[in-house]
């Protein structure tokens, strides 16, 4: 009895092209290459790779539909550190495993986002089928000035909070103390009133005197923040 002929060994060049096309499908419609369904049927490794891409694509779509997930404090920091650690240790030798990890993270984020009463249960990813049109994914553009502005306001809030915690107790403390009252035994003669009034107005007049300096300082700070992008740009 003649054994059934073995399936032809996939061409590495074809695998490489398939996987490149699969990754590009995440960029949305209109890409130059389309994954070959015939190759997916013939190559087990590439079929697994396509499944991971499909899971990733599903997760991105879920993220786009639902409310924006709010990661826990320090999430970005932990992810970057973990990614750098992974790169150093070189445990991810197969691109498919890396994509699967990314897909798993995104699915985990999608599953862990705050749920309302009407949120549907998560959908299990189906078998890959690249006969369908690629799922359009529009990545959010990076807004550097927004990030700078956020960083500036976070730093300002942090400084204000710390200063408030330092100054607040002192301010509240002095307000708590009973103010002693002393009897006024010396009346101000009428002809002395203008001088007393002038003396009483000295602090206010001094404030008027330094106002040009404080105005200049305020304008200088505002211009610096605008020029460095730490505050949103305003029309002049």
């Amino acid at each position: 009895m003649t054994p059934a002929p073995l399936p032809p060994t996939p061409d590495p060049a074809t695998c490489s092209a398939f996987r490149r096309a699969a990754r590009q499908s995440l960029d949305g419609p209109g890409v130059a290459e389309v994954p070959d369904p015939a190759h997916a049927a013939a190559c087990l490794d590439c079929r697994r790779y396509a499944a991971a891409v499909r899971v990733l694509a599903s997760g991105l779509v879920e993220l786009g539909r639902g409310p924006t997930p709010v990661p826990t404090a320090g999430f970005a920091d932990r992810v970057v550190r973990a990614a750098l650690r992974e790169r150093r240790v070189r445990t991810l030798r197969r691109p498919g495993a890396g994509l699967a990890m990314a897909a798993g993270v995104l699915v985990a984020v999608a599953l862990l986002r705050p749920r309302g009463g009407n949120d549907p249960a998560p959908v299990a990813p189906s078998a890959p089928d690249f006969a369908q049109a690629p799922i359009p994914i529009t990545p959010e553009p990076v807004r550097v000035e927004e990030k700078l502005s956020e960083a500036g306001s976070a730093l300002a809030a942090l400084t204000r909070r710390t200063a408030g915690e330092a100054v607040g107790p002192t301010r509240d403390l002095f307000a708590s103390f009973a103010t002693p009252t002393f009897p006024t035994t010396v009346a101000v003669p009428p002809d002395a009133e203008p001088v007393v009034e002038a003396l009483a107005e000295i602090p206010q007049a001094a404030q008027a005197g330094v106002e040009p300096v404080t105005n200049s300082a305020r304008r200088a700070v505002a211009l610096f923040l605008r020029d460095t992008g730490l505050s949103p740009p305003t029309a002049h």
Binding site: V142, L173, P189, F224, P233, H236
Partner: protein
Amino acid sequence: MPAPPRAPVVLVALALAFAPAVATAGPAEPLLRLVPPDTTLCFVLQDLRTHVNNLAGSPFADWLSNSPVGRRFGGGADADRVRAAATFFQTMLGVSAPDLLDEVFGDAVVFAYQAGPPGKPADEAGLILIKPRKPEVLARLVGKLNDLQKAGGELKAVREGTHRGQSYTVREKAAGGPEYHTTRDGVFAFTGQEGVIRAFLDRNASPAEPSPVLAGFRRLGVQDKAAVLWLNPRGVEPELRAKAAATADPNERAFLHQFLKLWAATDGLAAAVHPDRGLEVTVSAAVRREAVPPELAALLFPTPGGSAVWPAVPADAMLAVGGRAAVPKLFEAVGSFLPGDGKKALRAVLDDGLGPVFGKDKLPAVAKGVGPDWAAWVAPPGPDAGWFPRGVAAVRLAEGDATRAVTRALDLGFQLAQVAHNQSHPDQIDSREERQGDVIVRSLANDAGFPPGLRPCYAVKGGYLILATTPAAVAEFTPPAGMSEGANPPLARCSVRQVREYLTRYRELIANAATTGQQKPPADVADGLGKLAGVLEAFDRADLRYETSDGRVALTLRIELAKPLK
């Protein structure tokens, strides 16, 4: 054998003896030479690399990170947002915060602001100068930033501009005006105004000597400080003159006119912060003494030496202040800010107000006989003396008419206070007199109404009038023999450690006394005192000094922290 030449050696020795001290240059000096000469405000950060690295590795940073204050600062949503932003920029721009500090910002950063002309504040201009250690790192960073912002739609285009054969970069933004930058001779310049970048290129090509801004920094002695904010008084003078001319209030107008005379005599102002083992904060002014109104010159440029009372201040004082203030000169200075013949009017008010108290014929002797040396301090209470701190105010008092007039006035004041209190309170004040050797101490006692440890009193001891919170403080006072040669005592001194120990030890008693008759529960005040003590834990002591030299007046606060900064 011929004798060795001695003349050259002698000449060198003489030259070294009389050579002026070489001012320390800071890394920002090359940038200050390129700052517009009509700069109004200039902010400088220099040698950040050294200071931040010293601070990061210091015992203070170690202590702070483990302290409650440090933990509160490092935790919370705001701190996370800052860290997230830093991580974002590190990921996107490929450069970490330590690298930015080391290679880009660590040497010097300068921000120069030019105010707009009077009536046109929107015509202001700003210039940022950076001296990176590795210009190629900054260039790469700018390139990545351009790429990111173009991809994100924030930047429309990056093109080149030229000025007299020199090129600069123009960033056309989607929102807001364009930005301009260039690098010349290792200095990166950035601005939002095209005229400013062109002027920078001109100045770089032929720098003016001397640079007025750099000269201003050197005159104030702040050219090597870590952080400096420098102000050119001429930049805000037009606004000040307009304000003085426009005001309808005669009191404000009189004040501003005198203030303008002082302002016109000031050539530069600076506030500087510099870390060493502790922290030094200085506010200084370059003042032409000959242009200062004479009644103000006496206060601004006092006789050197400080208050002679400082040796009497106890070592455990929590807070102490002291100085030299001649009362007649003080009146002249205050009177010069009043409208009309303010000095005469003030004298008339004092004659009418204080004359009956001291005796109108004794008033000139009192004015001349009180001061100029004075000091006041607050120290922890003695053992078994209750919680109220020991407070003392001491002022030099001339013998004769001045002493007699002042002690009679104080007697009268004490009696009036006693009568006024006893009329309206069930607890009664009793006046007492006790002898401490040759010194008579008069006090007011009220065991039921006064906090334990408080017995207001006064005495004249060793040529000093002493007002104190307890006769025990008068007994402890030792009249000083005088200041030692070359002594330079401070204007104020605070032992924060003593304050914290006092608040911690007596906070319950203070809280109970403070809230007597009020709605606020004592526990809240005690809690507030505890939090204040927690904040004060970072500090050890501080002193404030006033110094004058060569047309420069400076007020310097030196803070010693619980642990050193390096």
